[in-house]
Point group: C2
Chain length 435, copies 2
């Protein structure tokens, strides 16, 4: 196939945009070998042309006028690397409606506006790809869509936020949450305003996208039940250690009995579980499915050049497959019902302070048993004039557990109780946490 120059445009020219241009330029030969085409950055939309930039583009590439991209029929592919919901969302929508392929690194946009964007892409027959929106260079979207095309993936477990993984890892070394967060900020793993990361919102957006692709049914950010790590304290970390576990912010998406459930929560993870072994600011996603058992992808989940690498992979796939019928449809072709709140099942951990007198433990066990919750592990310590109980349950309905904890809180013998945390322990489909 004869090589044809393909003009490419960027929305945004920050760290990721500059890295995209650098990789496009330095790897032009590699891209040509992969696609048969030479890619050339012709326009990049910015707010301020005169700002100092890494790897500044040549000549008149920078522009503040979106029309120079939208109205240029020679531009077939645009990569959105500006971030934020607006004006990125409006721009991407217009480009798709105008018949341009779009590659986006914007997880909040895809997680909130995916339905609308894919509808536009479908209507004009163009591609919208978004590998870089989830875990940077880890190619989990491509693997789900192209390698596991006939694998019924029924569960996705992930450590998909490096900031929180780093903070929780540091807390194991004895730091408080505040100290660990400060360390993350110092090392550049956390923003000055870390809210998106520590609240779980960032991880929730990624899990919504992963669930959409894995289960082929749309999940918006609003469909994800998420809790962050801001209330994790050293007592939780110590309790986990006593149980040979660690605390991690775990994303779980599962398709079970025709229902789906997507959540992000701090969880106790068995030290032998692969997710417990994910280092510092790295990410890992574990895909469980019928034909593959379990495939885990691990790597850096953030970074300018890493994100740019994923953007370029998407651009080359678009260039290589446009005008074919290959994977250009919306991944979400069906609508699966959500699991009703409370029907989520998992082993859970909680602890409580009880009076140290005969019968106190029996009352606790009784409240659990009458809701069909059985105890898998129990640790008891003397604590002042009472006893502290650490309880790990077998699989339990979350709703039943919450009812039991309310009932336990009303017992005179129970002084304090923690909120429950899910437990991720054994591998293997049937025994996994959140089964």
């Amino acid at each position: 196939m004869a090589s044809v120059d393909v003009p490419v445009a960027l929305l945004g020219y920050g760290t990721v945009g500059a890295a995209v241009n650098r990789l496009l330029t330095e790897s032009a030969d590699d891209i040509e070998r992969a696609t048969g085409h030479r890619l050339r950055l012709v326009k990049a939309l910015v707010r301020d042309i005169d700002k100092e930039r890494d790897y500044p583009p040549a000549g008149d590439v920078l522009t503040t006028d979106f029309r120079e991209i939208a109205d240029d029929p020679s531009i077939a592919v645009v990569a959105e690397v500006m971030g934020g919901l607006e004006p990125a969302g409006t721009h991407v929508l217009e480009l798709l409606r105008g018949g341009k392929h779009v590659v986006s690194a914007n997880k909040q946009l895809i997680a909130r506006s995916g339905a609308k964007l894919f509808e536009a892409a479908t209507s004009t027959g163009v591609q919208l790809r978004f590998e870089a929106s989830v875990c940077a260079a880890i190619p989990v979207i491509k693997v789900l869509r192209e390698s596991l095309v006939v694998t019924n993936v029924h569960r996705v477990l992930g450590i998909v936020n490096g900031t929180t993984n780093f903070v929780l890892t540091e807390m194991e070394g004895g730091k408080t949450y505040a100290q660990a967060l400060a360390e993350a900020q110092e090392r550049g793993y956390a923003e000055a305003d870390p809210t998106d990361d520590v609240s779980g919102a960032d991880a929730a957006a990624k899990m919504a996208i992963l669930a959409t692709v894995a289960f082929k049914s749309r999940f918006d950010l609003a469909d994800v039940d998420y809790t962050g790590i801001t209330e994790i304290d050293p007592a939780d970390v110590n309790a986990a250690r006593q149980l040979d576990m660690v605390i991690r912010l775990v994303g779980v998406a599962q398709h079970l009995d025709g229902h789906v459930d997507v959540r992000v929560h701090p969880a106790l993870v068995d030290k032998q579980h692969p997710l417990a072994k994910v280092d510092g600011a790295f990410n890992a996603v574990m895909l469980q499915g019928d034909a593959i058992r379990e495939i885990t992808l691990e790597g850096p989940g953030a970074g300018g050049i890493e994100t740019a690498s994923a953007v370029i992979a998407d651009i080359t796939t678009v260039i290589g497959t446009m005008r074919t019928g290959f994977l250009q449809n919306d991944a979400a072709w069906r609508v699966l019902p959500k699991l009703p709140p409370g029907d989520n099942r998992s082993p859970f951990y909680f602890r409580m302070s009880v009076e140290d007198r005969p019968g106190a433990l029996a009352q606790v066990a009784d409240e659990l048993a009458r809701r069909e919750i059985s105890i898998a592990r129990l640790l008891q310590h003397q604590n002042g004039d009472g006893a502290e109980l650490h309880v790990v349950t077998h699989q339990a309905r979350q709703g039943a557990l919450e009812d039991a904890l309310v009932a336990l809180g009303e017992l005179s013998s129970v002084h304090r109780r923690s909120r429950p945390l899910p437990v991720v322990s054994d591998r293997g489909v049937s025994e996994l946490g959140w089964a």
Copy 2:
């Protein structure tokens, strides 16, 4: 794009072939959504039509006549799942020369005859894909070729043989090599004749293929320096444990200063290293490159349905991208020189029995120092009337270390010495073993 039926043929209908047919049939809708086409198995070449088979195909699909596939112009794609070098090699070559796309799960064929096969594919403009030839359902070939297209991957580290990983893991529990191998055979992780696995030949073929794709330069099986695990004994396993390491059969392919080196050897792997954590019969491949730092893929490296899943992924990619310029060239477009024997660098471990007298250790240290080999860790134990030394070196030229060991063997104070084993310790490009 209108859906068109695509006739597909198989060479072989054993465990993998039957699983391919089952997945093609049960997942026909998924495949149509991904590619716009319905795939239909029309012929499968077997030796004996009357043999009892899992998931037997319909009607007259089975044939003993290769010509019914090769000469049928309606068949565009053939999956070779028969294994063995012949007649698979001759058949695949003829199909490619005849203008049919081929997907192969045959690592020995690709590792030995890749150059000839790709030349044929290039001459007729068809695709040859081989994801299933390396680590079954772990999509490392697709990730290397399509996701890391602009990443200069300079090192591939892998646990790519599940049999040996299981055997070595079992030996940590106190079993001898023979006991562990028997256990692997009992569980179906090792063949009755385990030679291919335990000799390292299976891992070497996979590393040759991975190196070819990663470095875009042809590596045949003959280019891989490999050693198996048959000589690993409990003393090695115990020594590793004392150093907080485990013994694993590690494949390493690296591109360094314009030279490349591919090898498979038992190595001491630090317990904190991701490769030490790969469970039992699982496989893992770690890709290190400029733009991605390090991405690790882990999963089952064998199995009928897992292999079939990868075969189908390749078939759908072929169907989805044929008649485009996307990744249909031979991955190996350049020729990189091999690293001269002895120039390989790594930290190494060895142990030796020395006389327990003043000056013995000094002699050992002196022989190493004069060849610029420095000691990173040293353990000394009393052993009968002598001393046993465990030595871990810093990065050293393998040739220099071997010279030093020969010189040490000639010292009257040295009674016995082990062969050296490479050490895989810290992560990160600069500190990694075999740097």
